[in-house]
């Protein structure tokens, strides 16, 4: 699969599985899984994810955008990426 065919959500999912030590089955990592409730993300993983998003999507994520509601789910994070790309 080339980069162009993957959506932002796919990239985020891949990063969570491969780099953030996701322990569940990849197919359980749906767009609406509660990442913070389920313990998939913690403070340090969030920082790693922000750095990845900035580099992979060539965007700048202000610290003020790094809040719980933006990182609740893969879909929410993908929404943040889309908003930043449009900005």
């Amino acid at each position: 699969m080339t980069i162009g065919e993957m959506t932002a959500a796919d990239h985020i999912r891949r990063f969570v599985v491969e780099e953030l030590d996701y322990v569940g089955e990849p197919e359980e990592l749906t767009g609406d899984l509660e990442l913070l409730e389920e313990g998939v993300l913690d403070s340090l993983r969030i920082m790693a994810l922000v750095e990845y998003l900035e580099a992979a999507f060539d965007i700048v994520i202000d610290e003020d955008d790094v809040v719980a509601e933006r990182f609740e789910t893969i879909d929410a994070i993908a929404g943040l990426v889309t908003a930043k790309q449009a900005a």
Partner: protein, 534 residues
């Protein structure tokens, strides 16, 4: 302040000013009068459910108004509260509940799905108290067979009763910490122990009714005892910071500003995140008057940065393992240089005594390194159900004559400086700190070694500026067992903060000349390896 029991602090604060805000939980709050009343009703409900003096009440909940009602209700019923981590695997929580015989559990309806797995894991649950469940509709399926559900409606119908008579030597709470053999151990703290710290801190740091204290640490952490009980001493308001909000520095900054928080007590890794990612500018967080930190070494440059950015606050380093709660402290009065050594752990708090002892059990001369023994009012009663371990760590105090209250062996190496203050030098054993959590590497190793396809295992801790430590598991396995499977094995059994960050597969672990696993070599490899192997 003449109170000797923790729950009497709430009653006394309610008598002084019933309308004063006790707890703020999101957009809800409760006054001291209401907290006193509701916890008294709960103690009556608990008594009716068979809770007796000396029992344990489990509190399996995120922090909330209901959690605090449960904590005070338990103590008013003569029981000790045992906070349980809702994000920990059921196997571990079930073990704890079985270990200290938790028959009654306070837990919100939102966690109902975790109740049955707890029973399967060994929790002897007979009563569940879900204070947020109105009449319990929809919960009957979640209640394990043989257990009775008690709800918020039932609480409202229960008349309050006076607290069961207890004395200050009765247990107030039990906190479970990482043990070295794969099983957590329960630190028993009496009202006298807890009060000695809470009252000292309220006095030393001049906590007042006008203070607004952020409650950051999880309830399973002894830092929370300052937030709850020192605040209750003074009638200050406690502002609960949820687990999620504490993960986001910018959100934490907004929280402090919005609630005009005056006091925070946090682990350094959280304050480091706030400094690094909280977008603070000089003069930020003007409401803060006091910043207390404990649980691990605060990297000096981050402490210095925080002190420059928030110059209006006072700063103090509090030291002490769970077994002693805070036993020494040091006020940081001027901004250190970035390359200064970490903050001193200072001097013993009022009522405690610090003794530095060599390997032969003799008190060292000042300036010589040794193990810190602590004696005094804050020192725990022992480990629950483990008199042997208690006797190993609570020992006759060296160099003290007369009545001999035991001293606790901390396992921490310290040195007394010429000015009488103590410098923390490190650990005697394989215990480390990570995001403020105390972890025995042997606990993780024992867990991994339970896997039938793990042949050998050692865990190294690599110092990490932000997290405190990064954990690397070195493994020799058979039957093609890979790191990913071992990681999953761990997350089913131990809390996330104990799960290694990376798993390194080796044909065999290196050995020393005496055929022991060469931990020093593995630790060195892990430190130089850089990126993780998952």
């Amino acid at each position: 302040m003449g109170e000797r029991l923790l729950h009497d602090l709430v009653t006394a604060s309610a008598q002084r000013d019933a309308g004063a805000v006790a707890v703020v939980d999101g957009d809800r709050s409760i006054t001291y009068g209401e907290l006193d009343e509701r916890s008294s009703r709960l103690s009556a409900l608990l008594a009716a459910a068979g809770v007796r003096r000396g029992d344990r009440l489990g509190v399996l909940a995120e922090k909330s108004i209901e959690s605090l009602v449960a904590i005070y209700g338990a103590m008013k019923a003569g029981a000790a509260y045992v906070p349980l981590d809702p994000s920990a695997p059921p196997a571990r929580t079930g073990f704890i509940a079985g270990d200290c015989g938790i028959r009654v559990l306070a837990s919100p309806a939102g966690l109902a799905r975790t109740w049955a797995p707890l029973v399967e894991a060994g929790a002897p649950l007979e009563h569940l108290v879900a204070l947020d469940a109105g009449d319990g509709t929809g919960l009957s399926e979640a209640v394990p067979a043989g257990a009775t559900l008690h709800t918020g409606d039932e609480l409202r119908a229960h008349p309050a009763r006076v607290a069961v008579r207890t004395i200050d030597d009765d247990l107030a709470y039990i906190l479970y910490t990482s043990g070295s053999t794969g099983a957590p151990k329960g630190v028993m703290v009496s009202h006298r122990n807890a009060m000695a710290f809470a009252a000292w801190a309220a006095d030393e740091f001049d906590v007042r009714g006008t203070d607004r204290v952020a409650q950051l640490a999880p309830l399973i952490f002894d830092l929370s005892t300052f937030d709850l009980f020192s605040s209750a001493c003074a009638g200050a308001s406690v502002h609960l910071v949820g687990r999620k909000a504490a993960m986001f520095p910018a959100q934490l900054r907004s929280f402090v500003d919005y609630h005009e928080i005056t006091v925070v007590y946090a682990v350094p890794s959280l304050l480091t995140l706030l400094v690094e990612r909280g977008k603070l500018t000089p003069g930020s967080l003007p409401s803060l008057r006091l910043v207390l930190f404990a649980g691990e070494v605060f990297p000096t440059r981050h402490l210095a940065a925080l002190m420059r950015l928030v110059p209006g606050a006072e700063y103090a380093n509090l030291y002490g393992p769970t077994e002693t709660n805070v036993c020494t402290f040091h006020r940081v009065t001027r901004v250190p240089a970035d390359d200064d050594p970490p903050a001193s752990i200072g001097v013993a708090i009022a009522g405690d005594e610090a003794i530095v002892v060599d390997d032969d059990g003799r008190v060292v001369t000042p300036g010589e390194p040794g193990e810190l023994y602590v004696r005094g009012a804050t020192v725990m009663q022992g480990y629950w159900g483990d008199p042997e371990r208690s006797a190993r760590t609570l020992v006759a105090p060296p160099g003290v004559s007369g009545p001999r209250e035991p001293a606790y062996r901390t396992g921490d190496l310290v040195r007394e400086e010429p000015d009488g203050t103590l410098t923390f030098l490190g650990r005697r054993d394989n215990q480390i700190k990570r995001q403020g959590y105390r972890i025995e590497l042997g606990d993780i190793e024992a867990t991994i070694l339970q896997h039938p396809d793990v042949v050998e295992c050692a865990v190294s801790a690599v110092p990490d500026d932000e997290a405190g430590a990064r954990l690397v598991a070195h493994l020799a396995t058979k039957n093609d067992l890979d790191g990913k499977a071992v990681r999953r094995f761990c997350t089913d059994r131990i809390p996330r903060y104990m799960v290694p960050d990376s798993f390194e597969l080796l044909d065999a672990l290196p050995k020393t000349a005496t055929a022991k696993i060469d931990r020093a070599r593995l630790a060195k490899q892990a430190a130089t390896a850089g990126d993780s192997h998952t």
